[in-house]
């Protein structure tokens, strides 16, 4: 047992972080929300160059294999820097197509493009919600329902029906099976879709962890310099204790996420651990958001402070790919180990 990132994995995360810190991701997120996907696409390509999307793509399609731990490392950074776009969905679609495999079919067509950063892909699973994220900005939208994998038409996900999320960087489109082309069918689709949903849920948890870390870091920095009543508000015990509770929540969500990633990388059942990770990370990030808002005061309640990007995203991610209630139900579906 070695439940610890190795130096290379750690350095990978740091490198991504440095790259994203220099990329003005808040501006890209705001532009994305306003319908301009250009800056977000540019960030996307740099992520692909760094190898992020290849982590969800088998080697024979130009990727690095399916590497959940490294994906988690990446998606924590995506959350930390509020990268816009359907990155979770692209990774989930890649997990699905990679599992299906094929020659001359959708895997061969899409996976190399995903790995290269040329394809932004949305993905929906009606069992997990009626909307696809950012389908109008994506190059393709896949949908798995029952035994069938669909590629949706543009019409099924057209601009007029875009539903803005509480997180303006998330643009939702209603989509249903049948509004496009059936690409594959059979029990293998069902199994691959289950893996895709697990992947999406895990990476949403990772993203939420990054969101929560960022909210904590920015709020700690703020309360150190903001003074009221003649002292830094960070010296008030009530402020300290709220931030301490956020750190506790994040620190104990993190091992659940990596533990689930290790399980997903193996052959065994990973759904229980992923559900635990999702509920813990989602609640921790939302607690971080509420705390960040409260401790920034009115400033935290404004759109123009970039903090709002993370506050709103924390709320949206809490429900995405599995509400807390769904995840808790999932935790108890399997027997709990421990005799």
């Amino acid at each position: 047992m070695r439940f610890l990132l190795d130096d290379e994995q750690r350095e990978f995360g740091r490198t991504l972080g440095r790259m994203l810190a220099a990329a003005d991701t808040p501006a890209a997120a705001r532009a994305w929300g306003a319908g301009d996907s250009g800056p977000g696409r540019a960030v996307w390509r740099r992520l692909a160059e760094a190898g992020v999307f290849g982590l969800a793509v088998p080697e024979k399609y130009g990727g690095a294999g399916f590497l959940p731990v490294e994906l988690v490392v990446s998606f924590v950074e995506l959350g930390r820097y509020a990268v816009p776009g359907p990155a979770v969905e692209t990774a989930a679609a890649a997990a699905l197509l990679g599992r299906l495999g094929d020659t001359g079919g959708p895997a061969e067509k899409w996976l190399p493009a995903v790995a290269a950063g040329d394809a932004v892909v949305s993905y929906a699973d009606p069992a997990c919600g009626p909307y696809a994220l950012d389908a109008t900005a994506a190059d393709a939208t896949f949908l798995a329902s029952g035994d069938t994998l669909w590629r949706l038409d543009r019409e099924g996900t057209a601009q007029p029906s875009v539903q803005p999320s509480i997180d303006p960087a998330r643009r939702l489109s209603r989509c249903e099976p049948g509004g496009g082309t059936a690409l594959a069918s059979g029990p293998a689709v069902r199994a691959a879709a289950a893996r895709a949903a697990d992947t999406a849920r895990l990476l949403t948890a990772a993203q939420a962890l990054g969101v929560g870390r960022r909210l904590l870091d920015d709020t700690v920095a703020y309360v150190k310099q903001r003074t009221q009543f003649g002292v830094a508000i960070g010296s008030f015990q009530a402020v300290k204790h709220r931030l301490a509770d956020v750190l506790v929540a994040l620190e104990f969500a993190e091992p659940l996420i990596y533990g689930a990633a290790v399980e997903l990388a193996g052959d065994g059942e990973a759904g229980t651990g992923i559900a635990m990770a999702k509920v813990a990370a989602g609640e921790a990030a939302y607690t971080a958001a509420r705390t960040a808002l409260q401790l920034h005061g009115a400033l935290g309640y404004t759109d123009e402070l970039d903090l709002s990007l993370w506050i709103r995203k924390a709320r949206a991610l809490r429900g995405a790919w599995g509400t807390p209630a769904e995840c808790r139900a999932r935790v108890l579906r399997s027997p709990v180990p421990g005799r």
Binding site: I166, P168, F229, Y301
Partner: protein, 407 residues
């Protein structure tokens, strides 16, 4: 001890209900935080005024009905149950008007109140400054004496409604040599269209400009727009500070109506065996009822000649702890309703499942986006009118008698 309404109060309630049923727009007005919506809400204030419902407790001469505090509660229950529009005049009616009744001159009352009641003048508040949020004693914007009045200079922020309002009121440092920071402040009204005023709207969490920054550069205010004595502004402001935290800021009717809608949503949308949501819905319903009953106790105490303005206390029912400190009792109320409001709306969003993520302006947002909008609105509750951290300090120190710490 009873909870029954007199026939006259019942008649008042019925009259309000009938009027609202006949006048409340069937479809929500556009958002108050847009130019178009602001105008529509101003129109609605005019309609309320025509029916003499815009300020029911005021004396008739100013456009009110001289109604009791109980009738105000009843009116607001009916108002929220009827899903009537948000009150664009709330800053004026809840915050400025009580101050004027307490400290204003007859001339000020006659000049300011009628256009406030009709919506002809909509008021913004101008308390906070970038360096003075919870710590109002740190205010730096100044009022400098000049012939016949004062010249304002400085920078105010988080001025709610100011993006579209007509006038504003706030505290300014007029006597910079005063011996303590709370002293030497003056409470003033000024025109947002006056020369020297620059208004920069600020978007709230969902981007809608619910407040603004005000840059003030030699803005002239005549003496007639000073409330109370110059230099005594802190005392003037604090005498009605409870109003901002207590009943008049968030009426119980708002929560009883929202809780009833939440229960209806739960019945309609949820798996009734989902006890996790059931428990949260029940707690919201219970909290709203507690707030409503607490308000009944408060108006009963006031009617019985008890502490006037004693907000929030339920103490009067049984002589509990909060009896002695009316201003501080409003802090109990503020903590309670602000947390209730958030819990209630979070429960609603969770009940809505994937639709809970939709923004208020999403076409598919349930109930015209009112749950999403209500959640955004609720999130501000623990922050403004004095953060809940400050309120808890006040509760501990003034109601429980704990020693002042350095915080």
């Amino acid at each position: 001890m009873d909870l029954e309404l007199s026939p006259a109060d019942e008649e008042f309630r019925r009259e309000a209900r009938n009027w609202l049923a006949a006048h409340v727009p069937a479809v929500p007005l556009p958002s108050l935080e847009t130019a178009e919506g602001f105008a529509a809400h101003r129109e609605w204030e005019r309609a309320l005024h025509t029916g003499r419902w815009s300020a029911v407790t005021w004396p008739e001469e100013y456009g009110g009905r001289g109604a009791s505090a109980l009738r105000q509660l009843l009116f607001e229950e009916e108002y929220h149950a009827a899903r009537a529009p948000g009150r664009v005049s709330q800053n004026g009616i809840s915050l400025l008007a009580p101050t004027l009744f307490a400290h204003g001159t007859a001339e000020q009352l006659a000049r300011v109140l009628p256009p406030m009641a009709s919506g002809a003048t909509v008021w913004a508040q101008a308390w906070s400054e970038p360096g003075a949020g919870s710590d109002l004693a740190a205010l730096r914007s100044s009022a400098v004496r000049t012939a016949g009045g004062w010249l304002l200079r400085g920078h105010k922020t988080w001025s709610s409604r100011a993006a579209f309002a007509d006038r504003a009121f706030g505290l300014f440092r007029s006597h910079p040599g005063a011996d303590r920071p709370h002293r030497g402040l003056t409470y003033l009204m000024f025109d947002l269209a006056a020369p020297g005023v620059t208004v920069r709207p600020i978007g709230r969490l969902d981007g809608r400009p619910a407040f603004a920054e005000l840059f003030l550069d030699e803005v002239f205010v005549p003496d007639e727009d000073v409330i109370g004595e110059a230099g005594q502004g802190w005392r003037v402001a604090m005498s009605t500070a409870g109003d901002e935290r207590g009943l008049s800021l968030r009426s119980p009717g708002r929560f009883t109506a929202a809780a009833a809608r939440l229960a209806a949503l739960w019945r309609a949308a949820a798996d009734p065996s989902d006890t996790a949501l059931r428990d949260r819905v029940a707690d919201a319903v219970t909290g709203a009822r507690a707030y409503q009953l607490s308000a009944c106790a408060q108006v009963s105490r006031t009617a019985a000649g008890g502490m006037p303005g004693a907000a929030g206390g339920t103490a009067g029912t049984a002589g509990g702890t909060a009896g002695g400190a009316p201003g501080a009792a409003a802090s109990l109320t503020k903590v309670f309703w602000s947390e209730l409001d958030i819990a209630l709306h979070e429960t609603a969003l969770d009940l809505l499942g994937p639709y809970g993520e939709l923004a208020a302006d999403a076409g598919e947002a349930p109930d015209h986006g009112r749950w999403a909008d209500g959640w955004i609105f609720a999130l501000a509750g623990p922050v403004y009118a004095g953060t809940n951290e400050i309120q808890r300090d006040i509760i501990a120190e003034r109601l429980l008698g704990l020693p002042k710490g350095r915080r």
